[in-house]
């Protein structure tokens, strides 16, 4: 019950965060540029055209009323029309978001699948070569510019070895759009199209590695630190004194409490992961929300930019709520005490 209350409180705060985010976005889009109508129409438009667009966009209303209108639209999932595609921004984002989601899910899975074992190995053989290797990897992945890693992977796997596709989500020949979840991996499995699934995996390979590297290094580093922390606890000493086998001690008694810090870090750093997704999607021509956002930015498509920033923020908040839930599952103390450890 305590945990439920904790989650509800977190949900409340999350809504507040989203409200604040909407203020920030509104400020960027409406207050900073001076005249959105002039920006939308370009320098060649006549003063009359600008004035009529100002009127129809409601730009002559008081600022507070404009924000209320914006918020009202937001609550109904209406982000306005994109000046670029002439469609509703919500529809545009709905179309591109699944590709980003697929990339991000694979990235997080890969980062955990590699990062946690590496961290455990480093803690197990502290100050020996596995530890040094993991520490070097962690520093290397932290300072490697994501766009540079993406380019290097493209050169290496695409041009030099010529083994993996370097652009897009599927090869040009395959036109697959089941339209169920929008995630090609899932849809192709449901449709029983093994060939599409394999191609999708091949296309996901490089972007996922490029995006996962930084997160993986962080997870390995934090897992190592928290494993070492836990290993100094009395109950682990006691287990050792009782002769509980090494492996059992590591995986049953240490890994579970040690798992919480990497989870929390992933949530906190999720914003920078989304930011990096912009670069990765651009380099690998990944048809996701970030690619859409970059196009919107180049074309100064204000509604689309606001939409993309807003959805990024919502994504961050949702992921962090899920992580809170996961932390509660992993660490029963949180369920009782009702706060993050």
């Amino acid at each position: 019950m305590e945990f439920l209350a904790f989650l509800l409180r977190r949900l409340g705060w999350s809504l507040l965060v989203l409200l604040g985010l909407s203020v920030v976005i509104f400020t960027i889009a409406r207050v900073v540029p001076g005249d959105p109508a002039r920006m939308a129409l370009g320098p060649t438009a006549s003063a009359d055209q600008v004035a009529s667009l100002q009127e129809s966009l409601g730009l002559n209303d008081p600022m507070f009323q404009q924000y209320a209108t914006f918020l009202h639209g937001l609550a109904r999932g209406d982000l306005g029309r994109s000046l670029l595609t002439e469609q509703s921004v919500t529809a545009d984002i709905a179309k591109t978001f699944p590709a980003t989601l697929e990339l991000v899910i694979c990235t997080i899975l890969l980062a955990f699948a590699l990062g946690v074992p590496l961290g455990v190995a480093a803690a197990r053989w502290k100050d020996r070569w596995p530890d040094n290797l993991v520490r070097a990897l962690a520093i290397g992945s932290a300072v490697m510019p994501t766009f540079f890693l993406a380019l290097l992977l493209q050169i290496l796997a695409g041009y030099v070895l010529n083994v993996l596709p370097t652009t897009g989500r599927l090869p040009g020949g395959i036109d697959f759009d089941a339209g169920w979840t929008g995630l090609v991996l899932v849809d192709s499995l449901i449709a029983g199209r093994g060939d599409v699934f394999l191609e999708a995996v091949r296309h996901l390979f490089l972007p996922t590695i490029a995006l996962a590297a930084a997160t993986m290094g962080q997870i390995a580093r934090i897992t190592r630190a928290s494993m070492i922390d836990v290993s100094r606890q009395d109950y682990i000493e006691a287990a050792r004194a009782f002769g509980v086998p090494d492996r059992l001690r590591m995986f049953k008694y240490m890994l579970r409490p040690a798992f919480v810090p990497p989870l929390t870090i992933t949530g906190l750093e999720f914003a920078s992961l989304i930011g990096n997704a912009f670069v990765v999607e651009l380099i690998f021509s990944w048809p996701g929300m970030a690619s859409y956002g970059i196009r919107a930015i180049v074309q100064k498509d204000l509604n689309a930019i606001m939409g993309v920033v807003m959805v990024s923020g919502v994504f961050f908040v949702v992921v962090n709520l899920m992580i809170d839930l996961l932390v509660g599952v992993v660490d029963p103390r949180v369920r009782i005490r009702g706060s993050r450890a």
Binding site: W13, L21, I28, F148, L151, Y159, I297
Partner: protein, 290 residues
């Protein structure tokens, strides 16, 4: 006087000795000092300082790295090594300005939230939560799109979000210190709040701030490079490492040096600050600073 008749080492010397025994920190410091020196002395140490501007030398375009052109030449024949050194200036300037704006704001807000608690804490920490939910890169992109893309606007956009990390750090330290005896003693003696915040608590945060600043400098440089890679940083012909990687990328894989070597330069600087920060963390024994 100690037993051996020698004066004990001063504090600074002890710290220096411990610092010099830490290979990561020393390597990091050497990289940082080298980069800063090269950037400051760029016009004097680069072989072709005139290649910084919009110079063209088509006879020498796309030259592979050689004794004359260490990093080769780009698509209009400019020396990439010289331009990379000048590019360091932009990266370092970005780090200095962003952190110079973000750290004082972040530290003061963290002190206030941690010491006073109550409504001050709620308001400051909630605003921090909001800022944390916005990816800095995306924010910078949005700001650059609304205003004009330039170095100043990028720096402003990054600084607008960056203070949050310092606020969180100082907030957690201050909360731990608030109930310590020396703070309570100062309160009992009737010290002013400003005195307690800045003379009692702040000095205890200095080592954490130093570590965080060093680590941050690397990350700010990476974000700046990503922005200019996307074409939203400082505008050509001023050399910038991210821009160089982007423009060289269209000549991959044949003229690989045009994007790979400037990319390595970014890696080099970021690595230096990160190693230095890592080493300082060991030195000051502030485990939880990331």
């Amino acid at each position: 006087m100690s037993v051996s008749g020698q004066k004990p080492l001063s504090n600074a010397w002890q710290n220096w000795w411990r610092f010099s025994r830490n290979p990561t920190a020393v390597v990091g410091a050497i990289i940082v000092i080298t980069s800063v020196t090269l950037a400051l002395l760029a016009p004097y140490v680069t072989p072709f300082p005139e290649h910084v501007g919009a110079v063209v030398d088509f006879a020498n375009r796309h030259q592979a790295p050689s004794a004359v052109h260490w990093f080769g030449t780009d698509n209009v024949g400019r020396d990439i090594f010289s331009r990379a050194i000048f590019g360091l200036r932009v990266s370092l300037l970005l780090a200095v300005v962003v952190l110079g704006l973000a750290i004082p704001v972040g530290v003061v807000l963290g002190l206030l939230a941690g010491y006073f608690g109550g409504w001050v804490e709620i308001v400051i920490m909630r605003v921090t939560d909001i800022a944390l939910a916005i990816p800095p890169l995306v924010m910078a992109l949005a700001v650059a799109a609304v205003l004009t893309p330039s170095l100043t606007n990028s720096m402003l956009a990054i600084a607008l979000l960056w203070w949050t990390w310092h606020t969180r750090l100082i907030y957690s330290i201050t909360r731990q210190l608030r109930s310590q005896e020396f703070v309570e003693a100062a309160e009992t003696l009737g010290a002013s709040r400003a005195h307690i915040l800045f003379r009692e608590i702040l000095p205890n945060c200095v080592s954490a701030i130093a570590v965080k600043t060093s680590l941050d400098a690397g990350f700010v440089i990476l974000i700046g490079a990503a922005l200019s890679f996307l074409g939203l940083g400082i505008q050509p012909p001023t050399p910038d490492l991210g821009t160089m990687v982007a423009s060289g990328a269209s000549f991959l894989p044949d003229y690989w040096w045009e994007s790979v070597l400037p990319g390595c330069a970014i890696l080099f600087v970021a690595m230096g600050f990160n190693l230095l920060g890592d080493g300082l963390r060991d030195l000051f024994d502030v485990e939880d600073v990331r």
